[in-house]
């Protein structure tokens, strides 16, 4: 058997050029070159450890490789699984939108009203890594208070309340990890990246307490092995679970799955148009709530419920983005009880809703709220400036929301996945109460009134509810091996040298995009591995 180890091959290697049954040896093997894998790899650059990075694809999108993601959906309607993640160098950062924000303190807490919530540590432990993640994601200062983005004309809504607040999300350029960090990885002397390398099995010692090597295959039929002292899977929330479940030669239920947790607690953010906001004053300035750049950093404000409100009301975490309502949203949500959809659409396109109920309501609330626009109202036809409140709602951890394996296999002989995305009463109550709370606060200060988006008769949820492309959970973190797949260090319980990186380890998800937390956790994991291997 031929084998490779470290040294002069500091480069990208097309594994299809290697002899069959080659064994690659390294100190640390990282599987997956996305945000997590590349962040991890960079942390080892220039160090004493010999590292190999395995990537399923090459440098460009390839439909054959991408099709390895195919799977079926059996839960709440979800996207085609082949479309969401990208399977080539840089991973999903190749089409990432770039939105960043750390999880809130409360997201780390064990909340009585959210079963299975809570991380093994609090946010302060991750804060130093979040700061460093900012640099990785090419963000500005680690500051999410709205003050820096406020100007004389664009300021936060004057909600003088302890119930609702304005906070910020920041925008990465977005960093395309595969492009931005490619040269650094290529040039690293202690790092080799193997392209077109698909892990198909994790081989463990008979006791299953240690991974000995990985079985790797190419779509062209090459097979080889990778051995290492430490293995880190960084293949995404669905694929991490798939790999563990598929590696069932010594444990038939899959690796790390003694307590039937692998694949369970899949989470997504519920992205849902929740309400329309009819401002009392159509000239209401909401510039802070659109993406704007200040000192080279792009930020966008949104409304959230305070931690005190979440506790008092026993709700999931949630944020409301403010958007200009589209004619379609108005048609869908207003026309049912006013005038014909055709008419609303026509008027929506014309920029006004002059004869709909919405105008009558607007007349009422401008009088109630004493908006001094009477001359304006007489002179011009009001456009109302209807806004849409678009929510991102935390998905409560739910053991029935899960990834499992089907009997169908892919081109490499691996079983494909079945996804059942589920959510329920807590998410529904969060949506309803958030509308009420924000509606009450906006009314209280005379900003306007909100209308709940009507539920679709079929799904029982507002039309337009969908996932936010944020896949999380499936190998959740908990210091108790009966409740988590990995411990607080991201190591698989019961296996001494297998770690998981990425959003699969999130025990709860908050409302925010996962990428910054993925990067922060990866930085922390790299630090831990270096300490372990000293």
């Amino acid at each position: 058997m031929a084998w490779f180890q470290g040294g002069k091959e500091n480069m990208f290697i097309d594994v299809r050029t290697l002899p069959n049954e080659t064994e690659i040896r390294s100190d640390v093997c990282i599987v997956g070159a996305g945000a997590a894998g590349i962040t991890l790899a960079r942390e080892f650059v220039g160090g004493s450890l010999d590292v190999c990075l395995l990537e399923s694809g090459g440098f460009e999108f390839d439909s054959k490789t991408q099709s390895l993601y195919q799977g079926e959906n059996v839960g709440f309607p979800y996207y085609d699984l082949e479309l969401l993640r990208l399977r080539y160098f840089g991973g999903t950062t190749n089409h990432w939108g770039g939105s960043c924000r750390p999880l809130d303190e409360i997201d780390f807490e064990r909340r009585d009203w959210v079963p299975h919530s809570g991380w093994p540590f609090d946010k302060s432990l991750l804060d130093p890594f979040y700061r460093r993640a900012h640099k990785v994601c090419e963000l500005g200062p680690y500051d999410y208070e709205p003050d820096a983005w406020e100007t004389e004309t664009d300021h936060h809504l004057p909600l003088k309340t302890d119930r609702v607040k304005t906070t910020m999300g920041l925008q990465s350029p977005p960093t395309r990890f595969g492009r931005v960090y490619r040269e650094e990885i290529r040039a690293a002397e202690n790092l080799r990246t193997y392209l077109y390398a698909n892990v198909v099995d994790i081989e463990t010692r008979p006791s299953s307490q240690k991974v000995s090597r990985l079985r790797v295959a190419t779509l062209e039929g090459h097979r080889f092995w990778v051995s290492a002292r430490i293995f880190i899977l960084a293949t995404g929330a669905i694929e991490n679970a798939r790999l563990l479940l598929s590696s069932n030669k010594t444990q038939k239920e899959g690796l790390g799955n003694e307590h039937d947790l692998v694949g369970r607690y899949f989470m997504e953010h519920l992205s849902v148009p929740g309400a329309l906001l009819l401002p009392s004053d159509p000239s209401l300035r909401t510039g802070l709530y659109s993406a704007k750049q200040v000192k080279g950093v792009t930020g966008e404000g949104f409304l959230t419920l305070t931690a005190e409100t979440l506790r008092r009301e026993e709700l999931l975490n949630v944020r409301a983005l403010l958007r200009t309502a589209s004619p379609q949203e108005l048609t869908r949500n207003v026309s049912g009880w006013t005038v014909s959809a055709e008419r609303i659409l026509k008027e929506g396109r014309a920029g006004n809703l002059s004869s709909a109920f919405i105008k009558d309501l607007w007349n009422v609330i401008t009088d109630i709220d004493e908006v001094a626009i009477y001359s304006y109202r007489k002179l011009v036809r009001p456009a109302h400036g209807v806004l849409s409140l678009y929510y991102h709602i935390e998905n409560a951890p739910n053991s029935e929301s899960r990834v499992s394996l089907t009997s169908e296999v892919d081109q490499l002989g691996m079983q494909r996945v079945r996804l059942a995305w589920r959510f329920g009463d807590l998410e529904r109550r969060t949506l309803t109460r958030t509308n009420e709370i924000i509606g009450e606060e906006l009314g209280r200060v005379g900003i306007g009134r909100i209308m709940e988006i009507q539920n679709d008769a079929g799904s029982g949820w507002p039309v337009g509810l969908r996932g936010a492309w944020h896949q999380m959970g499936t190998t959740r973190m908990d210091s108790d091996f009966k409740r988590g797949v990995v411990n607080g260090d991201c190591r698989v319980h019961g296996i001494s040298n297998l770690y998981l990186a990425g959003s699969s380890v999130f025990p709860s998800s908050g409302y925010t995009e996962p990428t910054l937390t993925i990067v922060a956790l990866s930085l922390r994991l790299a630090y831990h591995v270096k300490e372990v291997m000293k």
């Binding site: 014909s340 004869s355 009558d360 609330i365 109630i368 009314g443 209280r444």
Partner: protein, 150 residues
């Protein structure tokens, strides 16, 4: 259904097109329902809060579908002016402009205290919807001509 831009028919279009949305907050249900008679003249002063009564009536009619008993002006006033005898006396003694200001504050207070009602999905204060209902209850729709400012 085809709607033509005639105010009465438009009204009917709105009414017929509205689905039943029957939610009143628990706070709303527990309001006192004392009847108050302040005379039609004073009541009309209150309804003048609205520059456009037709709009107020549209909202008021929708609300009255949920609370038909409040078509009774005196009952409606009783609920609008709940808050004790002293408050009611202060209100009654005030000038019309001061009364309107007190009502505006009451609207804000409704939102702060969660005294809201969902009218066609809109989250509104009980006071403002009752003021709209007052415009309906006073029957001013038929007597008003040319007040539409929109």
């Amino acid at each position: 259904m085809h709607c033509v831009p005639m105010s009465r028919r438009r009204f009917l279009c709105i009414l017929l097109g509205i689905g039943a949305v029957a939610f009143v907050s628990p706070a709303g249900r527990s309001l006192r329902s004392d009847r108050v008679d302040i005379g039609d003249g004073r009541a009309n002063e209150l309804a003048r809060l609205f520059k456009n009564r037709r709009s107020a009536e549209t909202v008021g009619l929708e609300y009255l579908k949920q609370a038909p008993e409040e078509r009774d002006v005196n009952l409606l006033l009783g609920r609008l002016l709940e808050g004790g005898e002293a408050h009611r006396r202060t209100f009654m003694a005030a000038e019309a402009s001061r009364q309107r200001e007190m009502l505006r504050r009451q609207v804000r207070d409704d939102f702060a205290r969660g005294r809201v009602v969902k009218v066609g999905g809109w989250i509104l204060s009980l006071t403002e919807t009752r003021l709209c209902a007052l415009a309906v209850a006073l029957g001013v729709a038929q007597s008003r001509v040319g007040t539409h400012t929109g």
